[in-house]
Structure formats: structure tokens, C-alpha cells
């Protein structure tokens, strides 16, 4: 080992430290900037009140509600379908061309640009069904985006369960399906829950797929009307529903309100904090469930 190569090694190490430090610094500055600029709007009034038209002082209440409702609907659609596909891939699919095709489709769907999925959603759930811009259409479109992700997470989580656990169940006389439902799924639960929450965070911030499916407007919502079939009810899935992320995009591209900048700042901060909450929730949920269930190995 020559002196020169030792010096090079030290320089290289220093550079790696610098780059990593830079990455952390960038993140801290980024998050700090958003939270600092949005600080004045981080109050209950901004979060709960309706947006104002062509005057300052509007809030983001309906948009925030729409985002949450959309996440809920899309999870209700995606989890059963994605989990089933994941079970199939982990437990029933034999290595064959067809299985290879499913795998290719999962990959393809997962890496398609969300705007392309959004256009497909517009074609099917807006035009073809004649629903126009609806929350349900948006939820279905986002579900296409999430289905491959949930399928992959489910497959991985089920595969991560030690085979001895499965073999023990089968040896005791349980059928394959009984083993899946009673043994594999509970053991895979921590991984599943973590994955589902992380995906929900992604839906919460999605905008490109929703522009032309859930729409860029929200009718005046009457929060005392809880009839899901009434157009004005916040619970109605058949109404246009602009989400928080779409609102940030729209408010700065249209600029109809004088305080567009402050609104976007505040909404960005709210969006970021929500994503943090999703992340932390995912971590805790994973930990709690993996402590509850003794099945080790599935916990990430």
C-alpha cells in the first residue's frame, strides 16, 4: 500500500462524507423551507374553512377532506384486489410464461407515468361511464396506480413468512387455503400494514392522475348533510372532488385569488406534515403488529 493510495483513500472517504452531508442538508433545508413558509397558515381555521373566491383568506377544508376520502376509497378498492393478486403470486402461481406475464404487467403498471394512468382513467371512468369528474372515478384511477404496488408488497410480505410456519400448519392437517388465511396472512400483517400506509401517503400527494378524473373543482359542500347520495354531501362519491395536491397545482397556475402564494405555502406544509404522519404511522403500526404477533421474519 503506497502513501499515494492511502491519501487517495482518505480523500475519497472525505468526499463520500461530504456528499452524504449535502443530501441531509438539502432535505433539512427543503423541509425547513416548506414548514417555515407555511407556518402562518398552520392553524385550524385554514385547515377547516372553505376556499374563498377571488379574495384573500380562503382555507383548504374541502380539499383536505377530499384527499382523505379519496385515500379511504382507494384503499377499500385496492387492498382486497391487490392482496388477492399478491396471495396468488406468492402461493399459487407456478413458474410459467403466464406468471412471467403477470409479473411484467405488475412492473409495467407500477412504472407507468401517473399522467398516463390519469388519461386512461379519464377515458374509462369519466367519458365511457358518463360520470363526468367524480371522486369515485379519481379513486378508481388512483387504485390502478396502487394495485401493482399493493400486489407486490403483499407477495413479498407473504413470502417473507418462514416456510417452517407454513409447513407446520400443513402438517397439522390444515388445507392450503386455511393455512393462507389463518397462518400466512396474520404473520404477514405487519409488512402489509406498513406497505398499505406508505401507499396511502402516496395517494394523498398524487395529483397528475387526478386532474382529469376527480377534477379541479369542488362543489359547495354542506358538512351537515351526511347522505352519501346527495350531490352536496361531502360523503357523495359522485361529485367532483379537488384534492389538496391538485389544489396546490391549480391555485398557482390559475392565480385567481390574491393570496395564492400563501395558500400554496400553507397547503404544501399541510401536505408535507400529512406525509410525515403517514410515515410515522407506518413505522409504529409495523412495530406494534409485529410485537403482537410472534411470527418473526415478516416484520421489516
Amino acid at each position: 500500500m503506497t502513501i499515494k493510495s492511502k491519501t487517495t483513500d482518505k480523500i475519497a472517504t472525505a468526499i463520500f462524507y461530504m456528499i452524504s452531508g449535502l443530501v441531509i442538508l438539502l432535505l433539512v433545508m427543503f423541509v425547513g423551507y416548506i414548514l417555515y413558509n407555511g407556518r402562518e397558515r398552520l392553524n385550524l381555521r385554514f385547515i377547516t374553512s372553505a376556499p374563498a373566491f377571488s379574495k384573500a383568506g380562503g382555507g383548504i377544508g374541502p380539499q383536505l377532506f377530499n384527499s382523505l376520502y379519496l385515500v379511504l376509497l382507494s384503499i377499500l378498492i385496492t387492498v382486497p384486489a391487490g392482496l388477492s393478486a399478491g396471495i396468488y403470486m406468492a402461493e399459487y402461481a407456478r413458474p410459467s410464461r403466464l406468471t412471467g406475464a403477470i409479473r411484467f404487467c405488475i412492473e409495467a403498471l407500477a412504472s407507468l407515468p401517473s399522467i398516463v394512468i390519469g388519461l386512461f382513467g379519464m377515458l374509462v371512468f369519466v367519458t365511457l361511464t358518463g360520470w363526468k369528474f367524480t371522486l369515485l372515478g379519481g379513486a378508481l384511477t388512483v387504485s390502478i396506480l396502487n394495485l401493482p404496488v399493493i400486489a407486490r408488497i403483499s407477495e413479498d410480505a407473504i413470502r417473507a413468512v418462514p416456510s417452517s410456519v407454513k409447513e407446520a400448519s400443513l402438517a397439522l392437517g390444515a388445507t392450503h387455503w386455511q393455512t393462507i388465511v389463518k397462518i400466512l396472512l396474520p404473520s404477514a400483517l405487519p409488512g402489509l400494514i406498513t406497505g398499505i400506509i406508505v401507499t396511502s401517503g402516496r395517494v394523498f400527494g398524487e395529483a397528475a392522475a387526478l386532474l382529469y378524473t376527480a377534477g379541479m373543482s369542488s362543489p359547495q359542500l354542506d358538512f351537515s348533510n351526511m347522505n352519501p347520495f346527495s350531490y352536496k354531501s361531502p360523503l357523495s362519491p359522485f361529485r367532483p372532488a379537488e384534492t389538496l395536491a391538485v389544489y396546490i397545482f391549480k391555485v398557482n397556475s390559475e392565480g385567481l385569488v390574491p393570496d395564492a402564494r400563501q395558500i400554496a405555502d400553507g397547503a404544501s406544509a399541510v401536505l408535507l406534515i400529512s406525509v410525515f404522519i403517514f410515515n410515522i404511522a407506518a413505522r409504529f403500526a409495523g412495530r406494534i403488529f409485529s410485537n403482537k404477533i410472534a411470527g418473526r421474519g415478516a416484520a421489516q
Binding site: V23, Y88, S114, I144, G205, M216, R261, V275
Partner: protein
């Protein structure tokens, strides 16, 4: 007796075992159906430009003339999408050129230099980067990056460079996490062998680890490229949206996703303008498929894949 209990078992088997099995199989195959539907719908809409409106694919791909509402007296509508294609390619390539060195270095730091810092600090940081919604990236780019570029380099601020920088930050976590995964999966022996021969850590990283992990790192870079190519809103917010070829990286320009985002809402279904936008969406779909096939090709060449 025996016959009856057998019958019971049989019934149970049919009721639960088969229903369960067929349900999950259905959803497995549903994914293929969904992909085929997507391809079919996009292809049928995207091909209308060429079959219904009888425009040549060569014009669409290689002409820079974009004027879908031009009067017949001036030569009729022009639907050359080359400006958008060049915009998409240049913005993603520049983004990757910025992001890949950082991503790979960070991955090396996390796996080879300080795994403990990597786990405690960088892993959560990357997870946060992934979680930040794209509109927030776009918004910060608009508020910070655009004025900064305008002040330091002149021009409008809205530029190819602004778009590339925003994308660079967005694809960074993709590259880093996939590169780190591939570095972690390397057999320990090759590192030990290198150290035992007296190599320093840097020599080991450069001569042994990086070449061995190259397929995985390349996969990360291609996936990053795919993500950069398809990102719509964050880019649209900072790129300037002027329909012309950029002369330098400080010029405003536009790309495929931006023009689709902006014009899809203003055009009517069935018009040539609208059809051309669908053709662009189809192009994005095809490019994504090419990227995935590329990743498979890289993956099958991987020497240390377990």
C-alpha cells in the same frame, strides 16, 4: 358413515379451498387484463392521429412544427411533436446526469463507509424524499429555484435547468435505494479478498464493488430515468412551457407530459389537436415498456444475482 364424512370434507373443500383459490387467481389475471385494457385504450386513441386523421407518424415524431389549429391557407394544422420529445429526453438525461453520481455515492456511503449513519440518518431521509408529493417539489422549485436561476444566470428562470434540477431531486431516492440494495446483496467474500490483497477501501470500491454492482446500479438509473420521463406536474410548473427547442439549458421549453397536462383540458375529444395529445400519451406508454425491457436485459446479465 365414512362416506358421509368424506362428502362433508369434499363440500368444505369446494366451498372454501376452491373459492379462495379461484378468487385470488382471478385477481392475479386481472392485472394482465388491466394492462391489456390500458394498452388497448391508449393505442386506439393514440393511433387516431395516424389512422383517422391520416397524419404520418414521421411528421409526428420528427417535425418541430406544432400548430394544431393553423389555418388551411397557411398549410393546415401541424402536429410535429419533436420539440416535446426533445424536451422530455433532454430534461431527464440532464436530471440523471446530476442525480446519478449523488445517488450512487450516497448508496456507497450507506453500505460501505458508514452503515450505522446510513441506517439512522440517510435511510429515513430517503424515505422522506420519496414521500414528498411531486407538486410540493414543483412548488418549491417555482419559489426557490426559478428566482435563483433568474438572479444568478439571467433569463426567465423558468428553464430546462430548473426542470432538470427538480427532477434530479425527485429521482435521487429511486437511484439511491436500488443501488444500495444491489451493493448490499454482493457476496462478502469479494470485498474480503480485495482487502486481503492489500487494497484500500477506495480501491476496493472502485475496482471491485462498483463493477460487481454495476447491473443493479444501472437498473436504478434506468428506473430513475423512467420516473423522470413520466413526471408531469413538478416539471410543468418550472419548465416555462414555451413551445420551441431550447438553445441552452437556461432557455424555457416544454416536454410531453407538460403539454398533455396543459392542453388535455382545453381540447375536445376527436379533434386533431386532442388526438395528437393521445399519441403523445401512447408514446410515453411505449417508452415505459422499453425501459422495463431494458431493465430485464440488464438484470439477466447481472453476474452476482442470487
Amino acid at each position: 358413515m365414512l362416506k358421509q364424512s368424506l362428502k362433508k370434507i369434499n363440500l368444505y373443500y369446494i366451498k372454501h379451498e376452491l373459492t379462495g383459490r379461484y378468487t385470488v387467481t382471478f385477481f392475479g389475471f386481472f392485472l394482465i387484463f388491466l394492462t391489456l385494457c390500458l394498452v388497448f385504450f391508449l393505442a386506439s386513441k393514440g393511433m387516431a392521429t395516424f389512422f383517422t386523421s391520416h397524419r404520418s407518424p414521421a411528421e409526428f415524431l420528427f417535425s418541430t412544427q406544432w400548430n394544431p389549429e393553423r389555418d388551411v391557407s397557411q398549410g393546415g394544422p401541424a402536429i410535429g411533436a419533436l420539440i416535446f420529445i426533445v424536451g422530455s429526453i433532454s430534461i431527464s438525461v440532464i436530471a440523471l446526469a446530476i442525480s446519478a453520481p449523488f445517488g450512487v455515492s450516497t448508496a456507497i456511503f450507506m453500505t460501505e463507509i458508514s452503515p450505522s449513519l446510513g441506517k439512522k440518518l440517510l435511510q429515513p431521509a430517503i424515505e422522506i424524499f420519496v414521500g414528498i408529493p411531486s407538486v410540493v417539489y414543483g412548488w418549491v422549485g417555482l419559489c426557490v429555484l426559478v428566482p435563483f436561476i433568474k438572479k444568478s444566470f439571467g433569463g426567465f428562470g423558468f428553464s430546462l435547468l430548473a426542470g432538470s434540477l427538480v427532477l434530479a431531486v425527485m429521482v435521487f431516492p429511486t437511484i439511491t435505494s436500488i443501488a444500495a440494495d444491489s451493493l448490499r446483496s454482493l457476496p462478502f467474500e469479494i470485498k474480503e479478498a480485495s482487502y486481503a490483497l492489500g487494497a484500500t477501501r477506495w480501491q476496493t470500491i472502485r475496482r471491485v464493488i462498483l463493477p460487481a454492482a454495476a447491473p443493479g446500479i444501472l437498473t436504478g438509473i434506468v428506473l430513475g430515468l423512467a420516473r423522470a420521463f413520466g413526471e408531469a406536474l413538478a416539471v410543468q410548473m418550472v419548465i416555462g412551457n414555451s413551445i420551441r427547442l431550447p438553445k441552452s439549458i437556461l432557455d424555457p421549453t416544454t416536454n410531453l407530459t407538460s403539454i398533455i397536462t396543459m392542453d388535455m383540458g382545453n381540447t375536445f375529444m376527436g379533434t386533431l389537436w386532442n388526438n395528437a395529445l393521445w399519441s403523445m400519451a401512447l408514446l410515453l406508454l411505449l417508452i415505459t415498456f422499453i425501459f422495463i425491457i431494458l431493465i430485464h436485459k440488464i438484470g439477466s446479465k447481472g453476474s452476482f444475482s442470487k
